[in-house]
């Protein structure tokens, strides 16, 4: 992390969402031992665009539906997203995308 | 299948249009809390699709209200009984 190290909460989410930029995303991904490639960025950009309009955190089920709606059934499935982001893809992708920590309501 | 509607607001603060749209003829209506002020309302206000209407006695007593002869009151045990007789409860507050 060359520019600065963003402040994180104990679970590794950005404390200040304005700290997010692509470089911060790389940093957050590295902490999850994820190497961001085009496939990851496609998802991150989709999530950020979605959040911009709807301002809700998505549970896994809705996260998968969103990716399916945007990119079709090959990518819109849990298996694909878990390969990219690990066991709880919605949560980890939201973290890397610099979106608010889900409220843990479930 | 019938519902119990539990109404907790006074006649003047209740939206009749919504309430009357939701109450079916097989349903029952129980007035609790400020809902017991319905006991003092005129017939037009009590003109629900069902005549099965009850008032919670504790809330009547608390507010110094008496019922007319044809009106029926019950206590919390009666409230519980009513919920067993209707499949669903819908609260209006």
């Amino acid at each position: 992390m060359s520019r600065f190290t963003p402040l994180l909460d104990p679970e590794g989410f950005l404390l200040n969402l304005d700290d997010w930029d692509p470089e911060a995303a790389e940093f957050l991904a590295n902490r999850e031992e994820i190497d961001l490639g085009d496939a990851h960025w496609e998802v991150i950009n989709t999530l950020r665009a979605f959040y911009e309009v709807h301002q809700v955190s998505l549970a896994n089920r809705a996260f998968v539906s969103l990716i399916r709606r945007e990119y079709g059934p090959d990518k819109g499935q849990s298996r694909y997203l878990m390969k990219l982001f690990g066991g709880s893809p919605a949560k980890i992708a939201a973290k890397i995308a610099g979106l608010p920590k889900p409220e843990n309501c479930l | 299948m019938s519902n119990l509607h539990v109404i907790a607001t006074s006649p003047q603060t209740t939206n009749f249009v919504d309430l009357k749209a939701a109450v079916a003829s097989v349903d029952a209506v129980l007035f609790i809390e400020d809902g017991v002020y319905f006991s003092q309302a005129d017939d037009a206000m009590l003109n629900f699709a069902t005549q099965r209407q009850f008032f919670l006695s504790e809330d009547l007593l608390a507010r110094g209200l008496a019922l007319r002869a044809e009106q029926e009151q019950l206590n919390y045990d009666g409230f519980v009984d009513l919920t067993t007789k209707h499949e669903r409860c819908i609260s209006w507050y």
Binding site: P10, E11, E103, N104, C105, L106 | V6, A8, I32, E33, D34, E58, D59, N75, Y76, D77, F79, V80, T83, T84, R88, C89, S91, Y93
Partner: protein, 129 residues
Amino acid sequence: MRYTLLINAAPQSGEAAHSAIRFAEAALRQGHSIEQLFFYGEGVMNASTLTVMPQDEQNLPASWDALIQKNDLSSIVCVSSAIRRGIIDTQEATRHQLSAVSCYESSEIGGLGSLIHALSNTDRVLSFG
């Protein structure tokens, strides 16, 4: 009958929380069971250990605590409603780096998933608000 009660009003904001506890007492007295108490929205204030009432007024959070313990009830306080109102247990205090705890131990801070799960094992759900 198995009941789930959804309590959506603070003890201080009118009669609803009081109605809920009276209903719960009557249901239990008649031999019914309460699958879950779910405190939601303003209702989470019913779980506050930090409520102080004048001696001649009922302390509803204390009454709920007694009822829950005596009957070994499952009582859930909605996490997202709770933390924004300062109802915090040890786990949430750690999670959000807070110094105080304010939720009765007889209730558990949990999610809406608990409510949904309880509904599957419930004959009647009643909301008080």
